[in-house]
Amino acid sequence: MLATLIRTLLLGAGAALALGALPVRAADPGVTDTEIVIGLHAPLSGPLAAFGIDPLNAAKMWYEEVNKKGGIHGRKIRLIVEDDKCNPNEAVLVVKRLATVHNVFMINGGSCTPAVIATQEFISREKIPFAMLNAAGDNGVFPPIRYMFGAFGGTQRADGAVLVEFAFNALKARRMAFIVHDDEYGNAKWATSKAVAERLGAEAVAVERISPRVTDVTTPMLNIRAARPDVIISAAYPQPAVLIAQKYGEFKMTAIPMVQAVQGIPVPDIFQKNVGNDAVFSNFYYGSPLNDMFNGPRQQKWVQMYKQYYPDRTPGAWMAFGLPPAMAVTRALEKAGRNLTREAFVEAMETLDFESEVFAGKIQFAKGRRDGMRSAIVIRFDGKKHTVMPGAYAWNGRDGM
């Protein structure tokens, strides 16, 4: 009985062998006289699909735009798309498949940090250039490794630093309360939040670490109320963020300003409806790495372009996050010249310094710097109007490291 099984397995292995052994390696894979093959991956199914579908579409759209204009040095870009479900183990398989079966030149992918980190060792060993999609990528860029570029929309560290800086400078807060998840996203946010607060001399009077799966935030909010802070900084995902805002309203804490990280309030109008209590928005702010509200005037260019490419889909809040990574890739391909190699491409990526017209700050890389952007804006939302707060906020790249 077992013999039959092993025989079947052997046959399968033989078939796999025939499939896999075909391509002959040229100087650098994925580049021919007429095309460059790029692998794209993101969560396209499962719970986090909303976080990957639009950014991936946006990146595709940018590559197609470049192809329409004649490609790069006479080569067209060909894309191979994979679904990683944001699962580290699947992401590893996807990346290996792109690199060793499809023989892509480089990979532009990943919407979640753990999925990206899991591939890092392989990327490094095989020397495959990798640009993250919309993953914040904290532990993928710190410490930096040569082949992996990311954090185009800023790391969580950068974002956390900005919120605290804003609370200190603009809101004059000295006693800060934090409500932060206990996952890697929360860890990264908290690392810089804490460091910046310490540097500025503000006190963290309450730090509530909560699970993303929490169903009742009564006690964390009671703990915060008891600590009498003069600002509440919330870095929670959409569902807990709404629960937090509801309790904040219910417990009449609205005299204390509340600052919410963008991840919890992707679409402010829906957030407001979900909270269902306009008193919450008397003193309410949210951060964003974009240069405007996600559907604000400065983002319209991209929203309109997206609607032309994908008329059936209304872009979500994360759509534009997929553009700057693709812009960086095409710029670096341009810079690397006709004589394209992976090493030349990595060196070109390293010298990038450009305005994406998507994010709050410039995209910059350097030798030893792999996080692309460090700025964010803060928007005041009063329940009707969004007002971008004056002042530019950026992480200094040192706090919390």
């Binding site: 009985m1 077992l2 099984l5 052994a21 994979e82 753990p114 899991a118 060792e121 532990n139």
Partner: protein, 317 residues
Amino acid sequence: MYGSPSYARLAPLLALVVIGIVLPPLVPQYFLSLGNTLMMYAILAVGLDLLLGWAGQFAFAHIAFYGVGVYGTVLLQSKLGIPFIPGVLIAAALAGLIAFLIAVAAIRLHSVYLALATFAFAESAQWVFNSWEGLTGGADGLRIAPPSVLGWTTGTDARAFPVIAIILALVIGATMYLTRSRLGRSLCAVRDSEHAAAVSGIDVFRTRIWAFVISGTYAGVAGGTFALFQSFVNPEAFGFSQIVLVLSMVVVGGLGTLPGPLIGAVLLGLLPEIMRTAMRGLFVWQELVYGLILILSMMFMPRGIWGLIAARGGRSK
């Protein structure tokens, strides 16, 4: 049927080892990585089947023991400098020990109660992996340095592949031996009727505890193989969906048989890859299709694929 397995039955294991050694230079890394993953799942599934299919204990904690195996092997290596082979043995023994404690604590529980108690344990273990940051790196995860097996460093899929093939062959061999042994017969007796087993002189509690310990040890070994070909681990790898995945492998393949969990591990392990390839452009439907496959296979093959094959062939298991 009982007694030590004949040499003819061991031949496939030799074949597995030969494939493990010959294949790596010939195929792209993706296939090797997939092969490593499938072999790891095979060890997990065979181990779970000993408890679920052979001993009839409806327990959900398998993935927690697997987690102990992964973290144990990796941490023994990185913190104490213990090489892979003693490391994985200690980690597997630790997993077995924890399984022993669970078995003793849950000795009075059956069916749904046992399932829920062990499920709660698995979820608690995941919480511990996530919260014990000083040890496991918490949600940020832990990077895994390539282990060295008797001087053979396994950092790449190609170098890990033969090692994992050998481990799988050993595990299958041990299972063949075990299921033919006196203990194997006791397990089946306890599964079929605890009363009848007790009457015929089998120590039911002891047999149940052994089933837990052995199954937990297998999961610990599977965890060790994870460290051979992966470079990063975070607590997400030990969640509910993984519990369900391994359980489905055993049930879809065929409970209480050796080929069953092997077939289940290969098929369900390949399923995401197949769906990704076949459902290009329809990625969002994967969840639905996966659910349908589970339901349909339970409707039409409640004894699993191997159960169906065995029934068709008129062979006993």
